[in-house]
């Protein structure tokens, strides 16, 4: 097996030498080797490939001069596996006669090198045969099919299989995948192989020209073909998933542009290609699919149902967050009967049971009177009592509109993450972003700062109002910020001023997050941090607008879940 990583690799040429080229699609669980051998900032894909090579099984790998990360990977692989065939192919970024000529020469050099390594020889006839076959099989596959499912396109850097599975599990079909190695080979090259035949005298030239002419990746100087490609689908796609890899800068640019121009909803996800990370993006993909379905009108909101008009019944919503678990009971007229907020323990399922019990006790309603329970939040799937689980994105949207019908932009700051959601006029999720990568701008950050200041978290807000001097906490990372606060304390800076600085830092992060979905007036803040008036004040100042906050900002998600439960019952 000879590994490769990039669609510009002359796979056909290697096959014509009798090699067995295999596209490396890593799904690794740890970066043990990579962390020891590479700088932490190197992209996760490059690291994952190193892990795959460490597992063994490959005689070598053909890399392309894609980016610095891959170049660095080459250095490390060469150093670690001197006995293997580690080859770097420099791919031109432009397509013209010069570059095609250069690339032709380079792929033949690759053939020579591989020949010297393996003893296998290149056969021109074999190459012609392979290219002909590729062209033909593309024709057969072209017979189209029309899915009635949600049609999703995938773009970006190296999308892991797990994302596609998620799409399919949630009622979607992947219509195209043009991430680095996602494209089907024959479909990518066939259009440029028209002239290949037994008589071809320069199949290598045809191959290098086809390789360079295929749908460009972002590394190419002229990448306009990409937007044309997507535009070609017109309204035949429902949504686009933009996948980027942690520490890859290349692909965020296109996303920015697409986000500005695209008619189709786009979800950006970033993974490090580990299964753990796929777990984290699950919520986002699910919420995205939910919102696509809502837009398409597949969720019928028929109000007819098993529950008779007159009969009273109740529903429950449970929001299982990382810091608190919140439960709400609502009657059939959408009136909140009772609510409970408890701290999430080690097991989210146990906390959910406790919260449910507490809210039932409080309301005096028996479990049997609850027609439906919907769970949401981080731990929603562990809650077995729930009839259905819905993501916190949809639930916050529903909950927010329940309290205030003018809300368009929601900022939710939880203990571990923060998110911004934009609603359209109908109250559907139009866009959302989440920050769950670092503590900055979350409740956790506030807690750490309160600890450093030696005040109770609940005091932080009130204290900050006594501030008389501007102090800024510039570090974004909790660890650095902590040492900044310590040195401020050492310089005898007033706690009040520091607290206010901390709030301003959170406000800055939050407003950036909100900007990413668009600052549509009608602001609301949810989540525990909304109780901190100091934070709210700073955000309001940064926005230049008032923020709506309910009396009980923790339960908005749970209320949304209860509303979902009502919809379920009414169906």
């Amino acid at each position: 097996m000879l590994g490769y990583v990039c669609k510009y690799t002359p796979v056909e040429l290697l096959e014509a030498m009798g090699a067995e080229p295999v596209r490396i699609q890593p799904a690794v669980t740890s970066f043990n080797h990579a962390d020891a051998l590479m700088h932490p900032n190197v992209c996760s894909y490059a690291k994952a490939v190193l892990e795959v090579m460490a597992e063994g099984g490959y005689e070598g790998i053909v890399l392309t001069s894609c980016c610095d990360a891959i170049r660095r990977l080459e250095d490390v692989l060469k150093e670690q596996y001197p006995e293997k065939f580690i080859y770097m192919l420099d791919v031109p970024r432009k397509v013209n006669d010069f570059s095609i000529g250069i690339y032709r020469k380079r792929i033949l050099e690759l053939a020579d090198a591989y020949s010297a390594f393996s003893g296998k020889v290149y056969s021109r006839e074999a190459l012609i045969e392979i290219l002909e076959r590729e062209r033909e099989s593309a024709r057969i596959n072209a017979a189209g099919e029309k899915p009635d499912k949600l049609r999703v396109g995938i773009i970006g850097a190296r999308c892991p299989e797990t994302v596609k599975t998620l799409v399919e599990d949630n009622g979607g079909k992947v219509v195209f995948d043009i991430s680095c190695t996602g494209t089907r080979r024959e479909e990518a090259l066939a259009p440029y192989l028209g002239s290949i035949s037994r008589e071809s005298t320069d199949p290598e030239g045809i191959l290098s020209s086809a390789l360079l002419s295929q749908l460009p990746c972002l590394r190419m100087a002229d990448a306009r073909g990409r937007s044309d490609f997507i535009a070609g689908f017109g309204n035949e796609i429902d949504g686009i998933i933009y996948h980027t890899v942690k520490f890859c800068d290349v692909y965020s640019f296109e996303y920015m542009q697409m986000k500005k121009d695209s008619q189709v909803p786009i979800l950006k996800i970033e993974t490090d290609l580990t299964p753990q990370c796929s777990g984290q993006i699950k919520t986002r993909v699910e919420a995205f699919m939910e919102s696509l379905a809502a837009m398409r009108g597949t969720t019928e909101k028929k109000i007819a149902g098993k529950a008779a008009e007159s009969e009273m019944f109740y529903v429950m919503g449970i929001d299982s967050g990382s810091t608190s678990t919140n439960a709400v009971i609502m009657d059939k007229d959408k009136k909140i009967v009772a609510s409970a907020v408890i701290r999430t323990g080690a097991k989210s399922a146990d906390s959910a049971v406790r919260a449910a019990k507490q809210v039932l006790d409080e309301s005096g309603i028996s479990e049997n009177d609850i027609a439906m329970t919907v769970s949401t939040g981080y731990g929603r799937e562990a809650i077995t009592a729930a009839g259905k689980s819905v993501t916190e994105i949809s639930c916050h949207a529903k909950g927010a509109r329940y309290f205030n019908k003018d809300v368009h932009t929601i900022l939710d700051i939880g203990g571990q993450d923060s998110k911004a959601i934009r609603l359209d006029d109908a109250g559907e999720v139009a866009d959302f972003v989440m920050n769950d990568k670092c503590a900055a701008g979350t409740g956790r950050f506030l807690e750490a700062m309160a600890r450093t200041l030696e005040v109770d978290i609940s005091e932080l807000g009130p204290i900050s109002f006594e501030s008389s001097k501007e102090v800024s906490i510039s570090s974004m990372c909790t660890v650095f910020a902590e040492s900044e606060v310590i040195s401020l304390i050492a310089q005898n800076t007033e706690k009040a001023d520091i607290a206010r600085g901390v709030h301003r830092s959170i406000a800055g992060k939050s407003v950036s997050l909100m900007k990413r979905v668009g600052l549509v007036p009608g602001f609301m803040m949810t989540g525990g941090v909304a109780r901190n008036k100091g934070v709210v004040k700073e955000i309001e100042e940064a926005l230049g607008a008032k923020i709506y906050i309910t009396e009980d900002p923790d339960i908005v998600g749970a209320v949304g879940a209860a509303l979902s439960a009502l919809e379920q019952v009414e169906k």
Binding site: N41, M88, D90, F98, K105, A221, D249, R516
Partner: protein, 424 residues
């Protein structure tokens, strides 16, 4: 009191409400800084450096005042060709550094991040993109960049082009030198020349390009001679002044003033006494925003940065008779082009030649040139027997550059140098 910061705060107030005004203030600030450097700067600074510093600032300030004769570039762009059309190169690295000089980088970096740019992207790029997005930079006549060394250029310049519709040319530099790659690159340079003829409605003059390349050769001669002397003589400097050398070795090379600056420096240095200072060799980026290091290195009595690889990335004499090919060759054979190994070997050779007491590399967050290659670099430096210090931080974004950590590492390194240690 920190004047730059105070001034920056004034600009900051305008950024949101009136970016054009903010842009004007930034330009005015640069002119003021130019004035300060010329008339009021530290008396210890030698005349040669003063001139270099003054030019580095005013060239950019003037170019921003006259955007029609200005091109946005990156540090490796073929500036000689742009000069031929009366265009001054303002590199995005220089712009980013200046914005950071006014303590405004946080605003622009946040701005680009809130548009969706990866937070892990190098902050030179984020700063530049944010400033362009914010509308504080006047739109230039053209933008020219290369793929040399830095992958992000293709993306940043494409993005900028999409916003402003600036005629943009990207030069693709193959990793290896060969006859084919030379024709590929000079073919692109000729294409660039056509584009510039169109935009500026001026004719290209091969004769003038020849002169520029000849001047470039002479400039480098003076610079190399200065560097040789610098290893023995004192010549008071600051970290910023060393950084400013890049204007003369890159952004303005081929023009008159860099020749003049290095000639002055080369002559002036002889009047300074020989010194027993410890000498540092600096790899790649000199942080513009790093206050902590200034304490140790500015006019440092015992320790000084006396040379770096960035100014020496291509020192071969160029063939002035074939100037376009010569420029193409210069780009392909730049030590920053291609694999890290080549660069690391070239730098190790420089270290052997200049024989410093220690080597420092500042690993700029988000730059794969530094983070990607630093382990290999360390290996190669070890082979030279010189102690090496690796600093991690952000050359532009103060928020990512923890002063404390840098201080500790730097002091420890100084202690080690004092003891004549082997490695750090």
């Amino acid at each position: 009191m920190n004047i730059a910061r105070t001034y920056g705060n004034i600009v900051r107030k305008k950024l949101e409400s009136d970016p054009v005004k903010a842009g004007k203030l930034i330009r005015k600030g640069l002119h003021l800084e130019g004035f300060r450097v010329k008339h009021l700067s530290d008396k210890r600074i030698p005349a040669g450096y003063k001139y270099l510093n003054y030019k580095g600032i005013t060239v950019v300030a003037d170019a921003l005042d006259d955007p029609e004769h200005c091109a946005w570039t990156n540090i490796f762009a073929p500036v000689e060709i742009l000069q031929n059309f009366g265009l001054t190169s303002v590199s995005m690295e220089a712009l980013a550094s200046y914005l950071s000089g006014f303590y405004l980088e946080d605003y622009f970096i946040d701005r680009s991040e809130s548009c969706g740019i990866a937070s892990t992207l190098c902050s030179y790029h984020k700063n530049f993109i944010g400033a362009a997005e914010a509308g504080v930079l006047p739109v230039p006549a053209a933008a020219v960049t290369t793929t040399l060394a830095c992958d992000a250029n293709v993306q940043s310049f494409r993005y900028i082009n999409d916003i402003f519709n600036i005629p943009t040319y990207m030069i693709d530099i193959p990793h290896e030198y060969s006859e084919e790659s030379l024709s590929y690159v000079s073919g692109q340079l000729r294409e660039l020349i056509c584009m510039l003829e169109d935009i500026t409605r001026r004719k290209f003059s091969e004769e003038r390009l020849r002169e520029a390349v000849a001047r470039e050769n002479e400039t480098k001669k003076y610079f190399l001679s200065f560097l040789d002397k610098r290893q023995r003589h004192e010549y008071p400097n600051t970290l910023t002044l060393v950084l400013f050398q890049l204007f003369a070795t890159h952004l303005s090379i081929g023009e008159e003033w860099p020749l003049e600056a290095f000639r002055m420096m080369d002559e002036e240095i002889e009047a300074y006494p020989e010194s027993g200072q410890k000498r540092l060799f600096w790899i790649h980026l000199l942080p513009y925003a790093q206050m902590a290091l200034r304490e140790y290195l500015n006019f440092g009595g015992d320790i000084n940065v006396t040379c770096g690889d960035f100014d020496l990335d291509y020192i071969e004499e160029m063939d002035a008779d074939h100037p376009v090919d010569a420029i193409a060759r210069k780009m392909i054979l730049n030590i920053y082009n291609g694999g890290f190994e080549r660069k690391a070997d070239a730098i190790a050779d420089m270290i052997r030649k200049y024989d410093p007491d220690g080597v420092v590399e500042f690993c700029h967050w988000g730059c794969s040139q530094s983070s990607g290659g630093v382990m290999l670099m360390k290996e190669k430096v070890r082979e030279t027997g010189k102690p090496m210090l690796i600093l991690d931080g952000d050359a532009v974004d103060r928020r990512n550059s923890p002063d404390g950590q840098i201080k500790t590492r730097f002091e420890a390194f100084l202690e080690l140098l004092g003891k004549g240690g082997e490695t750090a």
